[in-house]
């Protein structure tokens, strides 16, 4: 299982962050940055970042900060 915020999502081998956001969230494309097990990962790296079983993912809303 993977925890996305407070939600549990089923894990599968080879799963990437891009897969996770597309499969588990209706609004996955809203997120440009997530925190995966404490480390920030940005959208350009979602497709190449593997998610381990038991991972904790926090969704970081970044829209108009700065």
């Amino acid at each position: 299982m993977i925890k996305v915020g407070d939600r549990e999502v089923a894990w599968r081998p080879g799963m990437t962050l891009a897969d996770l956001l597309e499969e588990a969230l209706e609004d996955g494309d809203f997120y440009a940055v997530v925190r995966l097990d404490g480390k920030l990962v940005s959208r350009p790296n979602f497709a190449t970042t593997k998610v381990a079983d038991g991972a904790q993912v926090e969704l970081i809303p970044m829209v108009a900060g700065g």
Partner: protein
């Protein structure tokens, strides 16, 4: 108590008024040329139209100066104000001060927003705003003592020259055992010897037992401060509670403050973790999206960014509470304990560094090709201590380094400094030279606009190339974001009233990453709403971070997630709770519009404020050089083919650079048209008479400025 020698030359005794609904209802005027002190009333109209903070500052400055006033004329005024909500201890981010003056960098109005305790202490001492004109004959310390109800002017010859030691010494001298009740505003030698001086606003950190500070960085107000012969302005107040600001509806205030404060405590650890790492999380994120300025904004990405990112500073920051105002749960003002500089007057001594924030990391790090977190800390420390703006220093040094690498200037110009990107010792030596006003540093401290002229006249550098790569607009250096792929943010910088600072609009993610505003009209709407709402924080004494850096978990499901409307509604309730004026979200925008348009007309009065002044260098718009184009060739080739319908077969890179430039510059001009129309301005970027009437700023002198510039409808 530190033994420092201050000679009292003027004492002014007053009766402190009760604060009413966030206002003291009077301002403090000081003319240092005459040692004259006077209290002036705040009118109902001032509160209705200008609200407070930046609005009050602008109104006072407008009265103080004439169209031909220069930044170093005695009549130029430094105005400091918090705002009606400033000084509320329970609502996050409610301790800001806004400073304005005529800027040595731009020649027109500059405003800068800063934390620290000064603004609230000034208000609770009895003054909504402070206005200082004139020039002191000897270095002066102004002491506004709300406890003793006295304003005193001292002459001070032997005080420390740098803000780091001076803040500490004056906090101890005036605070004794109650240092928490002191806030010091000071600049430093760098501010005196350059045109990019900042002001340091202190707050006392009881846990670390030291004065900390935040900076009003932009536009050289610290230079004006030094030019006036001011060594420091000190405010003293007593303990602060919710009652100190005497809000109109305390229960409503408690309720809304609790909601926002608790939400931050709950969500910041899940989101940006600003209470742990400040804004340093932006470094890796900007790098990933090709937005981290690198080597004078040539590139937006470098694999070494990880060396100066979030993890590194998280390890370096001294853990503990770092709120720059009481009760702020964002608490992002982090610092590094026991840092030991390797150069300059503090070489080998342990110091506390207040920072760095993202802007300093990018400006004095990646943009200079410096990937060393300790050198960035050293820049941070000395810029603060010398009273220099880290953004203008970083962006100016980046320009110099590119000029040096391009051969536009050589080591004869730089006094032997080899200013290649990444040369850490040379960059630090240049910083000390700027602060001392010596050698090549004396030229660099003038800022990019003047450097371009000096390099052309003195060293024969190509003016056209420098126009393209010198990252300034209106005379102010750009802050630290890449804008080449975000037309909206090009507008956010280019059409910002004071010059290219991101505090008016930060639209890169909305525009480039999320593509939420594909049309010109949508971009123009964003370049109306966001600058207006962000302006509102500066009217009220607030920090904008709690608004949209930590957002409700259901925000993404709202109609306009970028605006974080739940928080906007809270701010409307907060405004009512303090001032008693019932308002909704739209009213907040209208309040800002009045002040925003007034500032645009103020610019016009000073000879700026037209379409031509919203020009930005091409480096902010697209690739200037073949090297830049080639580094992102796939992206640019695709745009030429798919977006602009160009057959690129057989065209060399130089031709493609020229074609892309033509298209992108046309788009920027079209954006200006759309934004001016949305804001109710003429095609030349001037507010129409109908606009100023709608906003109730049609004072005779405002209408006269419009008429003098051909606007009569």
């Amino acid at each position: 108590m530190t033994s420092i020698s201050l000679k009292e030359i003027k004492t002014f005794t007053y009766e402190r008024p009760a604060i009413e609904r966030g206002y003291a209802n009077q301002t403090l005027y000081i003319d240092l040329s005459r040692n004259f002190i006077e209290i002036r009333p705040v009118s109902r109209q001032m509160k209705d139209v200008f609200i407070g903070g930046k609005g009050f500052d602008l109104w006072l400055l407008w009265q103080a100066v004439k169209p031909d006033t220069k930044w170093n004329d005695p009549e130029n005024a430094i105005c400091i104000s918090s705002g009606p909500m400033g000084g509320t201890p329970a609502y996050p981010g409610s301790g800001k001060s806004i400073v304005t003056a005529l800027s040595p960098a731009t020649g027109t109005v500059i405003d800068s927003n800063v934390g620290g305790y000064f603004g609230p202490y000034l208000k609770f001492s009895g003054f909504d705003a402070l206005q200082v004109q004139g020039k002191a004959g000897e270095p002066a310390v102004i002491f506004i003592d709300g406890v003793e109800e006295k304003v005193r002017i001292f002459s001070a010859r032997d005080l420390p020259d740098d803000a780091y030691a001076l803040s500490e010494a004056l906090t101890e001298h005036f605070g004794g055992k109650k240092r928490r009740y002191i806030s010091v505003v000071s600049a430093g030698t760098g501010a005196r010897n350059s045109l990019m001086g900042c002001l340091n606003f202190s707050w006392y950190d009881p846990k670390r037992k030291r004065a900390r500070y935040k900076q009003a960085g932009r536009g050289g107000i610290g230079t004006v401060f030094e030019d006036k012969g001011i060594k420091a302005i000190v405010a003293r107040w007593d303990s602060v509670s919710l009652d100190t600001n005497n809000p109109a509806d305390k229960e409503a205030l408690k309720k809304v403050a609790k909601l926002h404060s608790r939400e931050i405590v709950e969500l910041d650890p899940k989101q940006n973790q600003m209470s742990k790492i400040g804004t340093t999380h932006l470094v890796p994120i900007m790098n990933d999206f090709d937005l981290l300025p690198t080597n004078n904004y040539k590139f937006g990405q470098d694999p070494r960014a990880i060396l100066i990112g979030r993890e590194v500073y998280e390890a370096l920051f001294d853990p503990g509470f770092d709120g720059c105002w009481l009760g702020c749960t964002v608490a992002c003002a982090h610092g590094v304990r026991d840092f030991v500089p390797v150069t300059g007057p503090y070489k080998g001594k342990k110091v506390f560094v207040d920072g760095p924030e993202y802007e300093t990391v990018a400006g004095c790090g990646s943009n200079l090709g410096i990937w060393d977190p300790h050198v960035i800390l050293e820049f941070n420390f000395y810029c603060d201590a010398y009273g220099l703006d880290t953004i203008s220093i970083g962006t100016s040094f980046a320009f110099v380094m590119e000029c040096y690498e391009m051969g536009l200037i050589d080591s004869r110009a730089t006094g032997g400094l080899e200013l290649n990107f990444g040369n850490r010792p040379a960059a630090l030596e240049l910083l000390h030279q700027v602060a001392r006003g010596e050698g090549f540093g004396k030229i660099v401290g003038q800022g990019i606009r003047r450097m371009k002229k000096i390099f052309a006249e003195k060293f024969g550098a190509d003016p056209a190339v420098m126009e393209d790569i010198g990252m300034e607009s209106k005379g102010l250096e750009f802050s630290e974001y890449m804008t080449k792929e975000s037309l909206a943010q090009q507008g956010g910088y280019g059409m910002a009233l004071k010059g290219p600072q991101h505090d008016e609009a930060w639209l890169i993610f909305l525009d480039m990453v999320h593509n939420f505003m594909p049309t010109f009209e949508q971009k123009a709407e964003a370049l109306h709403w966001f600058p207006m709402f962000r302006t509102w924080f500066g009217l009220c004494g607030l920090c904008k971070l709690p608004w949209n850096d930590i957002v409700p978990e259901d925000n993404k499901d709202t109609e306009e997630p970028a605006k974080v409307m739940k928080h906007v509604q809270w701010y409307a309730e907060y405004f009512y709770a303090v001032t008693g004026r019932k308002v909704g979200p739209d009213d907040l925008i209208t309040m800002s519009e009045a002040v925003y348009n007034f500032q645009r007309i103020f610019n016009l009065r000073m000879g700026f404020g037209r379409r031509e002044h919203d020009t930005i260098p091409y480096r902010a718009v697209g690739p200037v050089t073949v090297e830049e184009y080639e580094s992102r060739r796939e992206r640019y080739d695709r745009q030429l083919k798919e977006k602009h319908g160009v057959d690129i077969e057989g065209k060399d890179t130089a031709e493609k650079v020229a074609l892309l430039r033509k298209f992108r510059q046309e788009l920027y001009e079209k954006l200006k048209d759309a934004v001016y129309k949305r804001r109710g301005w003429t095609a030349d970027g001037i507010p129409t008479l109908a606009t100023v009437k709608r906003l109730k700023i049609d004072f005779p002198e405002v209408v006269e400025v419009l008429k003098a510039n051909g606007v009569t409808e």
